[in-house]
Amino acid sequence: MIVLFISFIQTVNAAQRHPDPDGCFSCHALEGLDYIDKNGVLRSASIDKQHYYSALHGSVPCKDCHRRIRDYPHKVENGEVDCANSCHVEEPSEGEPYTHKAVVKEYKDSVHGNGWYKGLTGGNRFREAKEAPVASCRFCHANELYIREAELPKFKEAFDHLDSECGSCHQGEIWLGQFGGHILRRFIGSRWNKNDHNKMCNGCHADHERMAKVEQKNEKTGEKEKTGPRFILASDSYATTLHGRLLETNVMQGASCIDCHAPKRFRHGVLRDEKNDASTHTDNLAETCAQSGCHAYATHPLNHRFVKTDLHDIDMIPVNNSIVPRDQSRLESGWVKALIALSPIIVILGGGSLLWWLFGGKKKSVTFSILGGDAFQEKMIGRKPKSKVKKKVHQKKKPIATLTRKEAEDE
């Protein structure tokens, strides 16, 4: 009886996790479902069942996204996906179908908002890459595994105790069946850490040539302009900061790109610094830096300069002229001025050392530096430096060993 009961539960769970009510897999699960598309590219329409079920949307029926497909065989074009559609599950607090609409809205308002979010098919990836200069949904959201393999045992163990732990407050089959796993994944199975986020951003932003082609709208003139080295080399300058260095060595206290640029809501709202709502706008920086677990003291009035620390300082990186347009403003940097002031001293001292080593310094005597040597003799040794002592004519003294006894007594 117990065995029968357990097997029943397992079938119920399995049915919930593996929905294919429309029978799409009766064709798409077949291996070797290949065809050549309009562009002459060999494409595969086969879907690995196991892979799909374990992916992020594994519990979502195909037709929730591919809505225009009503019967089969279907046209390739009808496979289009609109990420802003409502879909699959009912959101428990409101009882309405879940939708990515709010996420898409946030994305549309962001700097990447010109990217594609609908009409996405497998066939138009190339066209998208050509036509859309900014990141679309699928630039970042490849349909990756739902839970990382390494974290699966941990997830399974927690899932087994879901009803006793989460279930003490969240009761009911629906909650446990539909949302328990989702939420648990966020706690345990979360796939991406800060380094993964950075890797995602760097997929485009570390590509200097690609970034050099980006044009931004000038808020004053309204015209599109090429970006400067600060934008093109943003990924490199970030890597020189402590934030970047900590993450590089897997110390997760460092801040990732989106920790500062899209810290709120759905984390899609990256905005330009000039925008009033931007998390990196000067007025909002203190709040952004003071996020939980970061620089909580950033909102203290005495730290108002601290939050203005330049985290994309191009003085920290060499500028490659072949990619970045020559920028005269770099020469106005305080660092460059300091360098111009210090260099001649180094040249004089270096040249002097070299010449001295080659030709001079044969006399075996105590040498004092040309710069500060006199002060050292006066202050530290307590003697007048030789250069300040008036030259006297000294009478030569006989060495002690040759003195007669009488002379020695006189001495």
Binding site: D236, T240, T241, L242, R245, L246, E248, T249, N250, V251, Q253, G293, A296, Y297, H300, L302, N303, R305, F306, V307, K308, T309, D310, D313, D315, M316, I317, P318, R330, S333, W335, A338, L339, L342, S343, I345, I346, L349, G350, G352, S353, W356, W357, G361, V366, T367, F368, S369, I370, L371, G372, A375, F376, E378, M380, I381, G382, R383, I400, A408
Partner: protein
């Protein structure tokens, strides 16, 4: 070449060992081998092994913020604690013998002629050091000036990176900040007399270490470089050789400034009279010498010996 061999021969033996230890620690800490940072999977001396950042002060900091900073640089916290504890008992062994970042400029500087260097040792180093230290601790963080920009714990490892073929090292050495740091390395290191000007003025670890050194020097059982005043002849060879400028001749007697001394022992090695040594307790506990008319230190014995010896032979 012969000149160079002669110069090496002239180095006192204990100092040769010290130089060797510094060179060994350069190999252990820097690229291409990176043995010690490699043990904790760190490519340089920054991030979790940084010993210079976790004590920075920001107004409005809570204890949680402090412990957060310490957690980030947990290994650095252990290293600094170890440095300070050894300093308390034995003097600044880390600074003088191990620190590769301070040691490398010193070694390079010693290969150049003293004539063409800047002599910083006459400057009032204690006020400058602790003045800068307080700016570093509180003012720079408040003003948003990154403590990393002038840190030679970045610069010197990056130079080694560059020579080991790591593009990151070269990138830093060619940036505006990197070039200014290189210039400072030249001016406060290679072209500074004895090459320790950065340690004297700017190093926050040195500043903390100096305080602990001074504190420990108050106790009788701790080992420090101390002068036996009865023996000092006032020849000033120790002051001339002191790499940190911590020996000053006061009334022709060497006086050691324990806030700056690194216990490198060079003064011990050059003193012909055994007047200065790394010892546990001061031998002369007399009050400070009085001035004018009072015999504040007995006439050294050696004068009489030296003058009388040839005469006694004649007898």
């Amino acid at each position: 070449m012969i000149k160079a061999i002669e110069a090496i021969k002239a180095i006192p033996n204990p100092q040769k060992y010290r130089y060797a230890v510094i060179m060994a620690s350069c190999t252990l800490f820097f690229s291409p081998f990176l043995f010690l940072p490699g043990l904790v999977d760190n490519p340089d001396l920054c991030g979790k092994v940084c010993i210079r950042r976790f004590y920075l002060f920001f107004p409005g900091m809570s204890p949680a913020d402090v412990s957060g900073k310490m957690q980030v640089a947990a290994i650095g916290v252990y290293i600094l604690s170890l440095i300070l504890i050894t300093t308390f008992f034995f003097g600044r062994m880390w600074c003088g013998y191990i620190c590769p970042v301070g040691g490398l400029p010193e070694l390079v500087s010693r290969t150049f002629s003293d004539k063409w260097k800047i002599e910083y040792r006459a400057l009032p180093q204690v006020p400058i050091r602790y003045g800068y230290f307080s700016v570093y601790l509180a003012l720079m963080p408040m003003l948003g000036i990154s403590a990393c920009t002038l840190c030679n714990f970045i610069t010197i490892p990056r130079i080694f990176d560059a020579f080991s073929g790591n593009p990151k090292g070269l990138a830093f050495a060619l940036s505006a900040v990197g070039l200014v740091n290189l210039a400072l390395l030249f001016l406060l290191g290679f072209f500074a007399t004895k090459g320790r000007a950065y340690c004297q003025f700017l190093c926050p670890v040195g500043a903390l270490d100096g305080l602990v050194n001074r504190l420990g020097a108050k106790l009788r059982f701790t080992r420090r470089i101390r002068v036996e005043r009865n023996r000092c002849t006032g020849c000033n060879i120790c002051a001339r050789n002191c790499m940190t400028g911590s020996i000053k001749m006061v009334d022709r007697i060497a006086v050691v400034d324990q806030l700056s001394c690194m216990s490198c022992h060079e003064c011990v090695d050059v003193c012909d009279w055994g007047a200065i040594d790394w010892r546990a307790a001061p031998l002369d506990e007399d009050p400070k010498r009085k001035k004018k008319g009072v015999d504040f230190h007995p006439q050294p014995q050696w004068q009489a010996v030296y003058v009388s010896s040839p005469l006694s032979k004649n007898k």
